[in-house]
Amino acid sequence: MTSSFFFNITTFAYFASMVLCISYVATRSKSVATIARVVTLAGFTANTIAIGLRWYESYQMLGIDGRAPLTNLYESVVFFAWSIILVYMLIDFKYKQPAIGAFVVPFAFASMIWAQYSLSSAIEPLVPALQSNWLTYHVITCFLGYAAFAVACGVSIMYLIKIGKEEKHASESPIGGILGVFPSTKILDDINYKAIMIGFPLLTLGIVTGAAWANYAWGTYWSWDPKETWSLIVWFLYAAFLHARFTRGWVGRRAAWLSIIGFAATLFCYLGVNLVLSGLHSYGGG
């Protein structure tokens, strides 16, 4: 069995998981939530096997030039999906709020669909600039950070939907309907903060490993290249978010918006820079 077979299973499982999470929100059925969890885990397992197999296949194809599958846009996108589900499952394990899946799993599903339908999955040997051990550390830390921000963004969207309704129904007792299965705004706010607390040190480490690598490969740890600058922009935004937590007038809504804007900037840093701007960091573009 090939990695592409398992990637197909992954995409299908994430699709099923997304549908199940959404139907949980609609039906509030506990058994739907359980099935959603099982399917998500199955998809994650398939995703893991697929990445592992691709790694193995690279050695079969390229001999000693095989490498970890983290070297081009396709590979990074499927790893992004993997990271999102990993962080989501950790949060779900701790908070047991399956409704969150309806707002997070779609990110992973969209990544997989995009990777499979419009990106080249050819396994090609590394250009000289990428032949470094820093590559693996840099990519893993960055993407785990990005994934945590994706989860925070999904949760922030839920927060904004729910708080709008909560404020309208301020006097009435608990909100019924679909929003009833949403976790309380307090919990959503807490998860948002937790996810960014996980993501921020990882992003920091991702920037540091990138700088260390740049210094080793080019002799300069920082050159204000668009990719570097955008990663710093993302860092500034989440640093602002973390400080907003301690400041009156910046909690709640504004924090949720900051988290969403932060993730939009993350996506631009990841994809926009390569697709729109030019610079030193062009490997992920092809």
Partner: protein, 456 residues
């Protein structure tokens, strides 16, 4: 008057300490940084003018947008950010320091009554005995407590994770250290480049943005440069240069560098950066004079005019390794004595007789081809501040993990006498991640209850 002055300095101090300023400067840095990613930095004036027009270029120049990350206003925001960071830390650090040096060993009534995590028990056992046993339990399940007696009451205090209170300060300090490292690098370091032809050496490099060469104080020789390719393709695998460092006439270091594997000598690092041809390809030619049948062996470099008998001349103008499926081929032309250039034709190395079929006074065959000499392009960097930057980076990662993933947790126990019985009151707090601590505290409560019941 004095109070007004006091008020004014207070207000300035409060401004620089405020978290609102932190958030605003962070957002300002984020938003303004975008400019330099959209507008090309440090390009030639002509390029800006071509793309944006003269008046826009002048506006960019005034606002220093063409080198915005070093502009007075961007550096100014960074400066404001640093001042804010320092003031905030000065304001809040003493409090954190007090937690370390003067822990609250004795819980006040407020703490005991209002803590989010608290418990109360009574026992017939006397204060001292129960206190000792509770201290033992506390030591086992949490941390070893400090015991204090005051006014006939016995107080126990234990804490964990006090250092996480310093995570934020460490992160703040790390930012200043990184900035310091960057300044050291700018003042005492340099970035330069140098091209070295194979077989030659140099002791001078060219700093970026300067026409004055810089003396290395030693020599670097390049013995060979080569590109290797992946099997069966034109996909480059490695760019390699064999470098030798010669200091005081001695060959001190020999290393083959490649991308991602530089050479460092005396704090100066040489990185494989580019390459090119230095000089021209060489061709060994055999020229047969049609009339006499005489054969000449000649050498030519690309583009060079080589004289032939009778005032004629020829030049090789192009070369390829693979001309369709016929292998190596050269393109040349012959010039007549009056300087007129004949039409170009092609000769094939694998078919020496091929040119005999062509009309003309001479027929040519290609005997040998010599690759042109290569040069290796090296980036040269000296950055004494880089270790300071790494120290700062390490502290930043370490500090932010400490700040986010750990919390300062404290437990107080107060034993006193009430209506002939021993009253045990427990309070606990965590400065971060309270829900998780509350769950842990609920479990600890059970252990305390067991300890107390066992004897009563």
């Amino acid at each position: 008057m004095t109070s007004n002055k006091q008020n004014f300095t207070d207000r300035i101090w409060d401004f620089f300490c405020s978290l609102k300023l932190t958030i605003i400067t962070l957002l300002l840095l984020a938003v303004t940084s975008i400019i330099g990613t959209v507008l090309q930095q440090n390009a030639k004036p002509e390029e800006y003018i071509r793309e944006y027009g003269q008046s826009n270029y002048e506006l960019f120049k005034t606002l220093q947008f063409t080198d915005m990350y070093h502009s007075w206003w961007f550096v100014g925001i960074l400066g404001l950010f640093s001042v804010n960071l320092i003031c905030c830390s000065i304001k809040n650090f003493p409090r954190a320091w007090k937690f370390l040096t003067a822990p609250a060993l004795i819980a006040g009534e407020g703490t005991l009554k209002n803590s989010a995590n608290r418990a109360e028990f009574t026992s017939k056992e006397d204060i001292q005995q129960l206190g000792q046993r509770l201290a033992e339990t506390l030591g086992k399940i949490f941390a070893k407590p400090t015991l204090t007696e005051e006014n006939g009451k016995l107080y126990l205090f234990a804490q964990k994770g006090i250092y996480s209170r310093f995570g934020a300060y460490m992160t703040h300090l790390s930012i200043l250290i990184i900035m310091l490292g960057a300044i050291i690098g700018t003042v005492w370091g340099y970035k330069a480049y140098v091209n070295i032809s194979e077989g030659t050496s140099t002791s001078q490099v060219w700093p970026s943005g300067s026409n004055v060469p810089l003396d290395l104080g030693f020599e670097v020789r390049c013995d060979d440069f080569r590109v290797t390719y992946y099997d069966g393709g034109r996909r480059p695998k490695d760019y390699k240069s064999d470098l030798v460092v010669i200091d005081n006439g001695q060959e001190v270091v020999t290393k083959t560098i490649e991308v991602n594997d530089p050479l460092t000598y005396k704090g100066i690092t040489f990185y494989q950066s580019s390459y090119g041809t230095a000089g021209d390809a060489g061709f060994k030619m055999q020229v047969k004079i049609r009339e006499s049948g005489e054969v000449l062996n000649l050498k030519a470099t690309q583009g060079q005019n080589i004289p032939l008998p009778g005032g004629y001349a020829f030049a090789v103008t192009d070369y390829t390794d693979a001309y369709q499926s016929y292998g190596p081929a050269a393109q040349l032309h012959v010039s007549t004595p009056d300087g007129r250039r004949g039409s170009p034709f092609i000769i094939l190395k694998q078919f020496p007789q091929f040119d005999e079929k062509r009309d003309g006074n001479f027929s040519f065959s290609l005997v040998g081809y010599e690759e042109p000499a290569m040069y290796t392009g090296l980036s040269v960097a000296k950055d004494p501040g880089v270790w300071v930057v790494w120290l700062g980076s390490f502290l930043m990662v370490f500090g932010s993990c400490g700040a986010f993933f750990f919390s300062h947790r404290r437990i107080w126990i107060c034993l006193d006498e009430e209506k002939g019985k021993t009253r045990v009151r427990i309070a606990a707090s965590a400065h971060r991640n309270q829900p998780a601590f509350s769950m842990a505290f609920d479990e600890m409560k059970n252990s305390f209850a067991q300890t107390i019941e066992n004897k009563s």
